[in-house]
Subunit: 433 residues, 3 copies
């Protein structure tokens, strides 16, 4: 019950946080990311904001200049305005160079991005590593732009500065680490990826509240996608390779249509097993191979990096129609969606904190009847589902199957497995070794 | 031909034995089990009847009191009798406490067990580890009981005594053991499990007759289910863990509708492979995972016990409609059903006795033609099925695939594989090492 | 482009060679095999013709007498001739003893072979290891034979001589060998197996032209089926077991209906993986288990021989209707069919020559954008198929997955994988170790 109340409280907070963070214009560098990280720091004071200077070499990449923006619009000679940044920050090509120029509609054309097959949606477009300026409009908005002269105005700056990311470590008794990585570089897109940001933050709160003295060390990172993950990895690779037991990249975890598991490169690491178990018994679960990856699992699983990390989404990025458009807004997010993602992750945490290696303390089947864990009357229909679940879990408590294995083998939701383990331990049926 | 005659003789004996054993009222302790074991001792004189005193601790369990029963019935004030033990011993709740009392129909109600969804069937109900008294009736019989006063009479005893089980060892040249375990604690139920009892007994006779000096040691145990298996295991666990190569729990092997393999806990022990092979080419074969277990494979495969044992049924317990009702009677049993189960097991024995590791004695394909094992004329349709079977078997005679592997890989019934191995050995084509 | 021109030149040559070789009457020994090998020697001068004397013991077999034939026919008393060898050499039972005798139609009957279910086709029938004489006719031809006296005339000889096979070695820097084995013992059958003979010969030419200093040693053998492979193996077994990395038996590779992979005995050798990859993305690909084998993979994969060899066909022997009939003629062969088989094999050679172990030279994802290997603008639909292919290939360049693995895992045709590897190496992205 305490846990249930905690989860409800956190679910409310996630919704509220996502609303507060939505308006900020983020990119891979700049004030937007820093504002976002400072907000997260208010929620979990342990969060540290790191900075890496422009021009720093990180693996095969170089930290780009810092981008900031004040305003942007297109103005027709008639005074009519289009693509106003103040109305929707998606209207400006993310990372756009500054511009202030007058030109004909035809000259403006190559600088306008639309989605012809979703004509009422503004697309989210970026050009990080090649200097461009541009605007994003819905196809309908573009069609409504009259002929004539236009002013293209983007009040942005690209200057040497820094890239920022947040790191929140909850230290445990053991050096073994669980990594939660999520990205905080997209502008006003709710599911992609403010959902990941607030779910990660809520998970940190859950762990601190439920496990004041945890066994595992939990490491949360909030990074600009790709370049931020690479920067974080390049600073921490040796330590991470030694200590990470399992990691999860959270992305698009705020809608309530499905659950998606983006497998690690080889598809068989502990994180894959943990997430598979956490999704047992849920509806609309789909596993995607690493060939379908798209977020920072790309970096964590790259050859030579090889961390045991997989991706976790509700509806997977690129698979839902609102993806990378202005329809990925607060309407797409639901409390159930966020809570579903959170509880999948808390069930994994609960399993790790219970302990992975458990052995039944007796030889042969324990006599459950005398412990009131089994019906004493045996008739044709007496083997009820929950007793069957109990004996099935016991059957695999051999010290070789962890709670994730047991969940998957027996088809029991991971949360129920852990709950049952708690009951068995209370009855002295888990060996103490 | 000799083998075929032997199998026919044993099939006749199985049918006859099952008829003789059917009327006895068995339970997990008491005279019924002893009578049954003495009958089996008459068939195979090597059988030893063991006893374990009430109150003895066996693993997590305690041997219960010994139960015996003389008579039982319900009598209406009109003199009409119901649930007469003398008519069907299923009418009394198995292990029922004694009672002799007068009470109203409504007071009697909680002591009556029926199967509302099979209204003309008397259920088989037990209460071993919690003291109860009760009667089992068909729903229709219960419905016919008039209002009024009743006498409930159960002339049973529950006293310190002993639990018994039978052990029949056929010693072989090697210490490696094949275990056959079956249970003998159910009252007048034919398929569950007199079928297991008589098939095990016939298999022992087969081995003694066909292999006067066997390689393997065959160990047959006839135990009360659960508590008997646990008692047997607790006395023999170290020895069994060292020496058992494969074991089979026989249960419900007397009908002719299907073949069922209840896999060991991990599903990959030698017994699983042997039974899979023994069922190649038979009809209506179904493999059930350990999650569907229900008989003493529960004990033999429990964590820490971990013997290489699986379960074998024709129609699996709990899956056939007559299960645990009075319809599980002699009508359900067929000679073909029993013989089908027996020949599956004899094919496994034949494979073990032939030897598991066999290597073809030549490099490249042997020239079968000059040994009259291959057609000398090659035309488009000349590769007949049996020649193809022969060359396929030879292809896997590499010293690494046992006859079970070869049967499964090539889709050849295990009996045919062993027969072919005999032929190849006769032609000097099996290496002597 | 150079490679493409080379493949076209070789495809033309294959068609021309198959036409030249078609008329020769081959058998497992005799002038026909020698003529065929001499023809192949003209194409690749390195080819050595080996001889093994009749009576030589090779593994479990003995080299039979040498068979040669000048003429054969059946002549009716009316002067009408049937089964004329000069019209089609399939008309004589292959390896037939000589005969010159007069007999009635009924006496002739047991010496005539037909295919009643393909009544207009002349069957290909052999009797190598049991002396017989006989003729092969279509059922319709046989039906047209009038009653009366006949002369059966077969001007063949069976005398001590030799069995011949060709061996063509292209030495490489390493002792590691790729084996290509094909058989050259069938008379005028085009797909079975002149196709194998000319594809092997063209592959040798390809390697010599494209790789003047190859890494691997390529060993081509042209053997009479079964006895020739056994003779070759018996002379070379120790060396082959030490040095063969992968081998392929080419059989029936000249039609354009499908691609067939006949798996090695255990189905998991390097050759299996290589061929699987080489067929990724092609149409009508079918893998057959070793149980469906029929050509010299029987010998190369026999227990104790255990070479990493699988079989490769277009339409698999025994599966296409023209198989072992006179319909297996030049009409069945197509340039596309031969070229398809050749390019599957050249893609395997290209992968071996590129090198099997490759590792990406950077940690994390390489920044492809600055190398013009990735689009710099990211919008919803920008991840084009070829960029996705590129990043997928990079993801598995971990030094543990060879190009065959990468092809299979990513679903990319092997040729495209190798091409991409070349590009990545040009950009310094393949580690030099």
């Amino acid at each position: 019950v305490a846990t249930s109340a905690l989860l409800n409280k956190l679910s409310d907070a996630m919704l509220s946080n996502i609303k507060n963070l939505f308006p900020i214009c983020r990119s891979i560098t700049g004030e937007g990311v820093r504002d976002t990280l400072r907000y997260l720091q208010d929620l979990n004071r342990e969060l540290v904001i790191h900075d890496v200077s422009s021009g720093t070499q990180v693996f095969d990449w170089t930290i780009p200049e810092e981008w900031n923006i004040e305003n942007a619009f297109i103005e027709h000679e008639s005074g009519a305005k289009f693509a106003e940044f103040s109305i929707n920050n998606l209207h400006v090509l993310n990372y756009s160079s500054p511009i202030d120029t007058f030109l004909d509609r035809a000259e403006l054309e190559p600088h306008i991005y639309t989605l012809p097959d979703q004509p009422d949606r503004i697309p989210y477009v970026t050009s990080y590593y090649s200097k461009r300026w541009g605007f994003c409009l819905s196809q309908n908005q573009k069609n409504a732009m009259p002929a004539g002269r236009y002013r293209a105005f983007i009040d942005s700056t690209l200057k040497p500065g820094e890239l920022n990311y947040g790191e929140l470590i909850i230290p445990g008794k053991s050096k073994a680490k669980i990594l939660i990585s999520t990205y905080c570089c997209h502008p006003s897109l709710a599911n992609d990826n403010l959902s990941g940001v607030v779910v990660a933050s809520a998970l940190a709160s859950y762990i601190k509240e439920k496990y004041p003295d945890p066994t595992y060390t939990y490491c949360f990172v909030f990074v600009p996608e790709t370049i931020g993950a690479i920067a974080y990895l390049s600073k921490n690779i040796d330590h991470l390779k030694k200590h990470i037991s399992a990691g999860f990249v959270l992305s698009c975890v705020g809608d309530d249509r499905s659950y998606s598991h983006v497998q690690s490169r080889l598809g068989n690491c502990l994180a894959d097993k943990a997430l598979t178990a956490a999704l047992v018994g849920r509806e609309n679960v789909k596993a995607y191979s690493f060939l379908e990856r798209g977020s920072d699992e790309r970096q964590y699983c790259a050859p030579g990096v090889d961390l045991p990390v997989c991706g976790f989404c509700r509806s997977k990025y690129t698979e839902y129609p609102e993806y990378h458009t202005d329809a990925d807004n607060l309407d797409l997010i639901s409390r159930d969606g966020l809570k579903g993602a959170l509880t999948a992750l808390t069930s994994i945490v609960d399993a790790f904190e219970f302990g992975l290696k458990n052995r039944i303390s007796v030889l042969g089947e324990p006599q459950l009847g005398r412990r009131n864990l089994y019906p004493t009357l045996s008739n044709k229909n007496s083997l009820l589902t929950d007793v069957r679940m109990r004996t099935n879990i016991i059957a695999y408590l051999d010290g070789k199957h962890d709670p994730f294995d047991i969940s998957i083998i027996t088809g029991t939701p991971l949360g129920s497995v852990v709950q049952e383990l708690v009951t068995l331990r209370e009855h002295g049926l888990i060996a103490a070794d």
